[in-house]
């Protein structure tokens, strides 16, 4: 299951279409970092609304994606974590430390644009 990556100005938006396997997540990690380099993007939004479960591997991969992208000087925001998915993550002791999160795509974009203003 490929995750489509949409380019909107300085921002890349990756939207999960369904539950992703480990292989899909690894693929996304490579694809996103490549595109951030290619387009010199300043921000990335990962929309996980369609993700059924965020387990240890998914959480770790999202953290890694955010860290890699930060090393490129860009910001990542995870949006759309469903309430029950968040509850399960807390119970499992999973954290997205150091990764920005927002309610939805709109708030994610707002967050990034604020960040861009700060650095301009």
């Amino acid at each position: 299951m490929e995750v489509p990556i949409l380019k909107q100005g300085q921002v890349l938006i990756a939207t999960f279409q369904a539950a992703l396997s480990d292989a899909d997540l690894k693929h996304l990690r490579i694809g996103l970092v490549e595109q951030v380099v290619k387009f010199r993007s300043r921000g990335v939004i990962v929309d996980v609304t369609a993700m059924d479960v965020m387990d240890s591997f998914a959480s770790r991969t999202l953290r890694e994606i955010a860290q890699m992208i930060r090393l490129r000087g860009a910001e990542t925001v995870i949006v759309g974590i469903q309430p029950e998915v968040a509850f399960a993550m807390v119970q499992l002791g999973l954290k997205l430390e150091g990764v920005a999160t927002a309610l939805d795509l709109e708030e994610g974009l707002e967050y990034l644009h604020e960040k861009f203003k700060e650095t301009n």
């Binding site: 992703l20 396997s21 292989a23 479960v53 387990d55 240890s56 399960a88 499992l92 002791g93």
Partner: protein, 134 residues
Amino acid sequence: MSVGELRVAINSDQDIVMARQKGRAMAMELGFSAGDATLIAAAISELARNIVSYAGRGEILLKPARGPNLTGIGIVARDDGPGIRDIPQALRDGFSTSGSLGIGLPGVKRLMDEFEINSVPGRGTMIAVKKWKP
């Protein structure tokens, strides 16, 4: 209404997604709320992940569970992998030997109502968990 047993072979990371989706579907069929079904799916995901990470292959068995005044879902994860040498240690938060997890078992225990583990080094591991309907 009768919901039967379901066996999901775990051979690759693709099967992790399959197992948790089947588990969620069964939980919903058994009358769990969508929220509880997500917790059950998360637990199955970690159990299946342990099989793939440590044993390579195994199976997840999903079945309705019945107690004196309770109904729920039972999940059994089985493999013939290397087994767990020190079970108390594996149940402590933050412990991992594969370097990738360290979350799995204590988290699964917190998500579920009953947790049973049997492991023989060199022979394999069996973890049986249950979640009761509130």
